[in-house]
Symmetry: C2
Subunit: 209 residues, 2 copies
């Protein structure tokens, strides 16, 4: 079976030893020009330090955690800067890659290629994230601890059913997500999944800013 999760199972011994991170995400500009908006954003981001594959539902990027967050944030910002109402749906994962596709990219250094280009672009975002520390009997404590970290960042909006709200400037929200994802890896779980749904330039945001 080619399913990544099942392959991970058959290679269970490697769980937690591989540090390749990944993100499967989709960007949805609510605009008739969605194709050109997306192509433009993808082209503007430097993806030379990550493995990348796009299908008819989503795009998957794999490599070092630092570059995964760098690339996804850049693609979101480049799309948002067109002014369109755009939504991001992303699933970050680390610990059970299930194969070695993209492992060559683990040799990349710590220099973020996109941060210098986007760091001065400010953008309000409203988002919801959920952590899934797999195979951990104490997973609720891991989640609670990281919600507390988000609260310290000042980006925690409120808890909602099945997720926690984060909002503010995109750089603060992504910094929170990156820290929460890294911290969760210190738990008993060797396989951490984090889902993020982000809404930008929404007509519903005014009252929240």
């Amino acid at each position: 079976m080619t399913n990544t999760q099942s392959t991970s199972f058959s290679a269970g011994a490697s769980c937690g030893t591989s540090q390749i991170a990944g993100c499967r995400f989709s960007l949805h500009p609510m605009d008739d020009q969605f194709v050109s908006l997306l192509k433009g954003a993808m082209e503007k981001a430097d993806t030379s330090k990550i493995w990348r594959s796009t299908d008819d539902v989503s795009t998957c990027v794999r490599g070092r955690e630092i570059h995964i967050f760098d690339v996804v944030k850049a693609m979101v910002l480049h799309t948002a800067k067109t002014g369109a109402h755009v939504a991001l749906n992303a699933t970050f994962s680390i610990g059970c890659p299930g194969d070695t596709e993209g492992d060559a990219y683990m040799a990349e250094d710590d220099i973020r290629l996109n941060e210098p280009v986007v760091k001065d672009l400010s953008q309000y975002v409203s988002s919801q994230f959920a952590l899934y520390p797999m195979g951990d009997p104490d997973y609720m404590k891991t989640i609670m601890d990281q919600v507390a970290v988000a609260e310290k960042h000042g980006t925690l909006k409120k808890g909602v059913h099945y997720a926690s709200g984060l909002h503010g400037d995109i750089h603060d929200v992504f910094a929170t997500l990156e820290e929460v994802f890294a911290n969760a890896q210190q738990s008993k779980s060797s396989h951490i999944v984090m889902t993020v749904n982000m809404s930008i330039n929404s007509p519903s945001h005014q009252e929240d800013k």
Copy 2:
């Protein structure tokens, strides 16, 4: 803390005993008229058997499993039938609601209110789903078993990193998702989460149909 997951933790004793299901989802029509398209779809679906709340990022529905799937499928179909390219992002959850909001709806019967209206509407969809059986040391087996169920349904497209592809007519895909979600509850996990990303009327679909 109001975070649902943390509340679930403090009320851990009730995990797995409450059978209220829920889904937090967003529909993204890639169209300038997204607001009217979404309002139209929401109004067309009968939500009288479920608890419902919408914020600036997503909509949450809670109640009996059967009605959660009935309502979400109907809203997706009503939006898709406008002809717009639309994406669904959904997180289904059962086992640790963290509170009793919506519990009154657990008294509803087994009659699906939307199925009679949408059952004759056919619609090709391409999607990706992932199962997260929380707190289960054998979670990979639970996932593998349900990927095999999807294969039997004939809707399994292929495994991809972090998910499994499902495609075909929307009724077959939703039947697969509903069965997989129900089966996973027979595992050692008392808290099942299932994420679904669905793409409809996409210019990228032609080669897959």
